[in-house]
């Protein structure tokens, strides 16, 4: 289970962006979270991925309560959750080639043994071909870069996926392709998905269950 209970979070203590939000995600299921722009859903996604320390509330990952955030979270706990962000441009280190970008989590966790084969296979899955893998982020399109970012999020085979407006910057065909990749991965590995977005039609088709922002927060 990935469980967020009574989360209050933000960037200034006196004015939290998220107030008293709770949601529960069972393994292998998918949950769409709908909310207007600026409501705090990205902040909640970062809390769920252990990247932002909430002011109050608890996050429980696979029965283990999170006590540290960012670097202070145990490595096994934070790598259990793969994240894809909204803007591929900002979420890719501009100095790394796409192949290095995808392989980076493997290097960072000291799993270099099956690096090349694994990265190549994953790149094929997300639809990146050999020549593109040698390019740097500024030499590829947003869609191609987001494919690499998705591959990076999947490379450690996380049990949970947090997609924060993953397809907001992309055209319809790339959106369809990336959603298909996520669904394929989930079928194969039984991973749970939290998809955050503002596109009701997309999320309702994509996810088992869709909730509105107001339904999960204290305000609702």
């Amino acid at each position: 289970m990935l469980e967020l209970r009574s989360i209050t979070a933000g960037y200034e203590r006196r004015a939290p962006v998220v107030r008293d939000a709770s949601l529960t995600l069972a393994p292998g299921t998918s949950l769409g979270l709908l909310g207007p722009s600026g409501c705090g859903k990205s902040t909640l996604a970062r809390v769920a991925a252990l990247l932002h320390r909430p002011d109050a509330g608890t996050v429980t990952v696979d029965g283990q309560r999170a006590t540290g955030w960012r670097h202070r979270a145990p490595r096994a706990q934070r790598t259990a959750i793969g994240v894809v962000f909204q803007q591929p441009r900002l979420s890719a280190d501009p100095r790394l080639r796409l192949s290095e970008l995808i392989a980076e989590p493997l290097r960072a966790t000291g799993r270099r043994s099956d690096l090349t084969a694994h990265v190549g296979e994953l790149a094929r899955t997300v639809g990146l071909t050999g020549e593109l893998l040698g390019r740097r982020p500024h030499e590829v399109s947003d869609g191609q870069l987001q494919r690499a970012c998705l591959a990076r999020a999947l490379v450690l085979r996380p049990r949970w996926l947090v997609c924060d407006e993953m397809t907001a910057m992309l055209d319809a065909s790339t959106t369809a392709a990336l959603v298909a990749v996520v669904e394929e991965y989930r079928r194969e590995h039984g991973a749970g998905l939290l998809a955050v977005g503002h596109d009701r039609v997309l999320l309702e088709r994509w996810c088992d269950r869709t909730v509105r922002w107001t339904e999960i927060t204290g305000a609702g």
Binding site: L51, R70, V83, A92, E104, V155
Partner: protein
């Protein structure tokens, strides 16, 4: 930057004129601007190359006895035998200028390098650790910055016997502050990027984030700060020597040369001041020009603000 469309290029000027007739009018402005910049960069690069060659090759061809005195030839104006003339104890000024430039460049380069390493380490550490570490370190930087750094440099250099190393230490220890500030603000802005979040989520340790993502990101800024610091450090070395606190007075250094020339200048002998002065100003301006061009390349928005 490379204008190679018209075949082999020997000089910058003809290339800019020829296509002007065939190109639309609105391009001419851009091309003129680019070509003046190219000329500036090429002149600077050529000057730096000449200087580098001179300080490397001349000492091999013409050894200099720093203390040899020839009073029979004292204060001779420039001639064929002594193109820059001689000083008040009959030493050849051309040779002393080249040797002086060599020492100043050495001091400038080493001091700038050391200062950049210190500044980068302090700035990156302050930003990466944040919180109290950041506050304390940056208040210390502010405190050091509040003391005029020539004064601080004099204080440091006065603790040692005159020599090259005390000057390097003094210049390095007083020049890392601005680099620390630049690197800190750069790391702070990089640290907030989503790709750092992605790295953390991918299991990267704090050390790996700093080494793999943050430091490479500040390298262009730190490198630029280092190059811009070289002329500054050279001026500083000369200032210390001019005040009699830097290198021992018999050793040819640009500051020392200007210092000993002061007396003869009042007597109307212009060459012992002019040539060392030019040797200080021209190479440092050339270096600053190159650094400015580099800055324009890595940050094109600053193109309108000129260097220095």
């Amino acid at each position: 930057m490379a204008d190679t469309t018209t075949g082999p290029v020997t000089a910058a000027a003809p290339v800019t004129r020829e296509p002007a007739t065939t190109k639309p009018v609105w391009r001419s402005h851009g091309r003129t601007r680019r070509s003046t910049r190219t000329v500036r960069v090429r002149t600077s690069a050529a000057l730096v190359a000449v200087v580098a060659l001179a300080v490397l090759v001349v000492p091999l061809l013409a050894p200099l006895d720093q203390q040899a005195v020839d009073l029979a030839r004292k204060l001779q104006p420039p001639s064929l035998a002594h193109p820059f003339g001689t000083d008040d104890v009959g030493r050849d000024l051309l040779l002393r200028c080249v040797y002086g430039l060599r020492v100043s460049l050495l001091v400038g380069l080493v001091a700038a390098l050391v200062a950049t390493v210190i500044g980068t380490a302090v700035g990156a550490a302050a930003a990466a650790f944040g919180g109290w570490t950041d506050r304390i370190v940056m208040r210390l930087v502010d405190t050091f910055s509040s003391v005029p750094h020539l004064l601080l440099g004099i204080f440091i250099v006065a603790m040692f016997r005159p020599g090259v190393w005390p000057v390097i230490v003094s210049v390095a220890l007083t020049h890392w502050l601005s680099t620390a500030r630049i690197v800190r603000s750069e790391v702070l802005s990089l640290r907030a990027r989503p790709y750092i979040d992605a790295a953390i989520s991918g299991g990267a340790s704090r050390r790996r984030v700093i080494r793999r993502h943050l430091l490479p990101g500040v390298m262009p800024q730190a490198g630029l700060a280092a190059v811009l610091m070289v002329p500054h450090a050279m001026w500083h070395e000369s200032a210390l020597s001019f005040l009699g606190l830097g290198l021992p007075s018999h050793q040819a250094s640009l500051g020392n040369l200007v210092q000993t020339a002061r007396g003869s200048l009042l007597a109307g002998d212009w060459w012992p001041t002019l040539f060392p002065g030019l040797f200080l100003i021209v190479p440092t301006l050339a270096l600053a020009g190159l650094a400015g061009a580099w800055r324009e390349r890595i940050n094109p928005r600053r193109r309108s603000e000129l260097m220095l």
